[in-house]
Subunit: 199 residues, 2 copies
């Protein structure tokens, strides 16, 4: 990773996360976020339409990363192989050094239903975008939608694992494990069920 | 199906759907819905906490149907076999004679973001409920969550197909087709991709 000195936008994002976590999302104003890094409220609104958007910035490039993974996949691959490549690309978006910040962001989102809905909407957009990219690569319905939704499911489950206290595996390793489990859902008790399943 | 004379609650539901579709959801009041079937606004609120709830009534028994399907599955089955049984049970909730009413309901939901969010929330609850039922049957994580999310994905995609103009297949047949496609996502071009995929 290239080291960079954060600009106003990045400083606002870091300050916002800290304030949301410390004081609560509702209780934090755009002016306070801006003030915390020596900027004006007007500057804040040059970068973000509202304080909620601080948490959801960069959505387009996030989605494009998955599309890039789809587009790099050989044309005769299986739908889940496109998904595997999309996740392989996306793993780069979750470097270990971001895990702490992601945990803070998630705790803020988890405590506000409106933010949870926004996150759900983001994931729904991502699934639609991936389905579109799969269509462009010749995958038919319903396979394209099933694969796209499966991709978002793996992402969501893997992300929750990645954020867990004490979890040290890379996102790439977790993606590999969860995708393997997905491929294995049709297999019987020996792989998918615990020993207690025979009760 | 047993024939029954609808009570106040059912009459309110039918009237609400008709009014939402004809005049718009926002433009329709609880008093107007009640008035359309000769009841008072007070009676309306005895059955529904608000007009939005008319569209989402019966959620608990809806979810229980999937749980019943999970619980009827032999203990050593594969995760997707539990899903197949849950969907098999759920197919009974979508009889052909309900298709018209379901189309109307969906068109109302599609035109209101707040209703879409409520529907998304309902599906998210359903996935959590199915995952819980799978845990109770001994399916471990992440297989249980993956299977539960896959169940909701198949439901959502199949439901959209079922509602299409000109679609005459039963929900059971559509579930079978979509679940078959899900099981086949790991297979290559011959099944999942169109002839155009080689371009």
């Amino acid at each position: 990773m290239v080291r960079w000195k954060p600009g106003s936008k990045e400083r606002l994002q870091v300050a916002a996360l800290e304030l949301f976590a410390a004081r609560g999302f509702e209780q934090t104003t755009a002016a306070e976020i801006a003030g915390a890094v020596g900027l004006t409220e007007r500057t804040f609104f040059r970068y973000f339409s509202d304080k909620r958007e601080v948490l959801f910035e960069g959505q387009e490039s996030f989605m494009q990363t998955f599309v890039d993974g789809v587009n790099e996949t050989p044309p005769d691959a299986a739908p889940l192989d496109f998904v595997a490549n999309a996740l392989g690309r996306a793993a780069e978006l979750f470097p270990n050094e971001r895990r702490g910040q992601s945990r803070t962001r998630q705790s803020v989102i988890d405590s506000h239903p409106a933010l949870q809905e926004r996150e759900t909407h983001k994931m729904s957009n991502l699934a639609a975008t991936i389905a579109g990219a799969l269509h462009d690569r010749g995958i038919r319905e319903p396979a394209a939608s099933l694969a796209a939704e499966s991709c978002v499911t793996v992402l969501t489950i893997a992300f929750a694992h990645w954020l867990r206290d004490g979890e040290s595996r890379s996102m790439r390793d977790i993606f590999t494990e969860v995708l393997g489990e997905l491929r294995n859902l049709s297999a019987g008790a020996s792989s998918g069920t615990s020993s207690g399943a025979s009760s």
